[in-house]
Symmetry: C2
Subunit: 343 residues, 2 copies
Amino acid sequence: MEENKDITIYDIAKKLNLATSTISRALKDHPSISEKTIKKVKKAVEEMGYVPNTLAAGLRGNKTNTIGVLIPTITQPFLSSLISGIEIAAQKSGYNVIIMQSHDSYEDEVSLAKSLYSSRVSGVISSLAMETRDTSHFQQFVSNNIPLVFVDRVPKNFNTFRVIIDNYAAGYKATKHLLEQGCTRIAHLTAGSEFGNLYSERKRGYLDALKDHNLPQIDELIVNLKTVTYEEGAKASNKLFDLELRPDGIFASGDIIAVSAIQTAKKRGIKIPEELAIIGFNNDPISQIIDPNLSTITHPAAKMGKASAEIILKNIKSNKKDEVKEITFLNTEVLVRESSKRI
Amino acid sequence: MEENKDITIYDIAKKLNLATSTISRALKDHPSISEKTIKKVKKAVEEMGYVPNTLAAGLRGNKTNTIGVLIPTITQPFLSSLISGIEIAAQKSGYNVIIMQSHDSYEDEVSLAKSLYSSRVSGVISSLAMETRDTSHFQQFVSNNIPLVFVDRVPKNFNTFRVIIDNYAAGYKATKHLLEQGCTRIAHLTAGSEFGNLYSERKRGYLDALKDHNLPQIDELIVNLKTVTYEEGAKASNKLFDLELRPDGIFASGDIIAVSAIQTAKKRGIKIPEELAIIGFNNDPISQIIDPNLSTITHPAAKMGKASAEIILKNIKSNKKDEVKEITFLNTEVLVRESSKRI
DNA sequence: AAAATCAACACAACCGGTTGCTTTAAATAT
DNA sequence: ATATTTAAAGCAACCGGTTGTGTTGATTTT
């Protein structure tokens, strides 16, 4: 069992009769090392199969070239695209991404945040867990000058970078679109809590759009789902379809819910979009698979990831702890497809 | 700008008039530290807000409690579920997961493997990039006793752990199912290379099933896609539907392709499953959304991730470098839904 | 030719835990 | 009362790069 010890810069230094500091500097093309030596070092590195130990470098320099991402789950299309966007931007700058899933649990989020801090990530990007109300476990990053970006589901009162869409405007646009298609009884399928001001903002947009078109708020047309799942969507849809006065339009705050509504409606023989126009939210892959194709609101996941990563990269080692951090708004668009196209 | 230096065990040692070694041991409930001292230390840790530095610990101990995952992308449902499975198992044992995407590029894979090695991960789980032919960049892990698990798309000749499904059997089962539904001209939509023996194995199963049912291999019914995308699926499907003798069944080696085939067929007015039975592969979410629902082969992503992680955890620090590593096979099942149900 | 300048590299402390070995003091044995 | 064992904690090297400060010999300046 030969011990396969790692090659270190000490081994290279010994072989070339140089100091470790010279090796270290040569590897980063430091100007005070001669061309000749740099070449010699790099050749030896190649031959001996040296691989730098980022732990040692990180420990000494107190930085790790790693961005931590703390999100509810990676299996949702929106979030996996978000990560992908982060990852591509990070990789381009030589940064790695370490991903942790809170599974929407507050307890896990707290513990994982501590773990991220322990591993001395250079920056953190997070989308809050559904359960989360108190966000003080993120304070450690700000206090220690580790750039922190909240994305999509963000806390309201926390002075750090935020990358979001204008959920209010998006909700307004979605509803307005249905109104323009001639809908007069528009239902809204929403979810979860008022925290994270995601669904609640969309709902606010929905309500204001109605008001601006002189339509009343009808409470029985607004259904609040416990969880954003297909099953809950079907349950809520059935509730709507059982009403004496059925809605002629649905704005669902998520594509899964909208798809569920479409299929539930189809089972009942309700014609889409003639009798019922439906618009979703997110532009998930399923929105293009469902028949009829689902109209939806675009949610620029990859762009949001990219923007978040770039903010992190720009603010690493900036030492502007106490400044007011900007909020980045990304655009959403109404994507009109078959499920809502009446005219 | 107050310098917010991290609290270290030195700070705690100083405050309590103890040695750093005592602090370190107290934090891990070492038997040679008294209960009283342990309590005192933990209280101080709490009060002073000490957070351990895993870099330092990792450097000293040459281990990091981190599992590296190197896969083509995380946006495919199969792969994001795989990661999720890995992550849950890892988190349970106090391990973190660092994820890197090769984007199916060989060059990226090589560079990311080096990066994973640099960060001294305790284990590596990888699914090969499409482009990859040579896998010698993974040798460094095995040589240094870092457990390596290949999952799903695995190399043939590399003595390390592998977690896979029996793609041959799955391809056979899928085809057999179509045969049992009365299909006699079964097409096969496959993809990519012969390397990674993923699609090629499924195809072999397809061919053997035909043979066992005394049906000939018809080359015009076997279409090889360049990439596994909706568009390529549509193109291939149209090619099939343009044939003089159209197929009456399609076994598509992926749900996206199958869904694409369904929608292409529907556009042409081909009745599914009456005129054309279709079965996919993976059991992606879209398979339940498409109308008619897609029959498919289950691909136990989360289980495969869990199994991979458990193998890593079991083999960390085992020092059995030269042993023959086992292959883990997970089960697949034929999931019969509407798209293939004729009887 | 002596002094000043500079290129190129060496020295050694440092980052923050971990761990084998030693020391100290209290408890037990003789 | 002395020797022996044991519990509890201290000492210091170590992991592998990084970096501020020195050192040396060669080149340039006056």
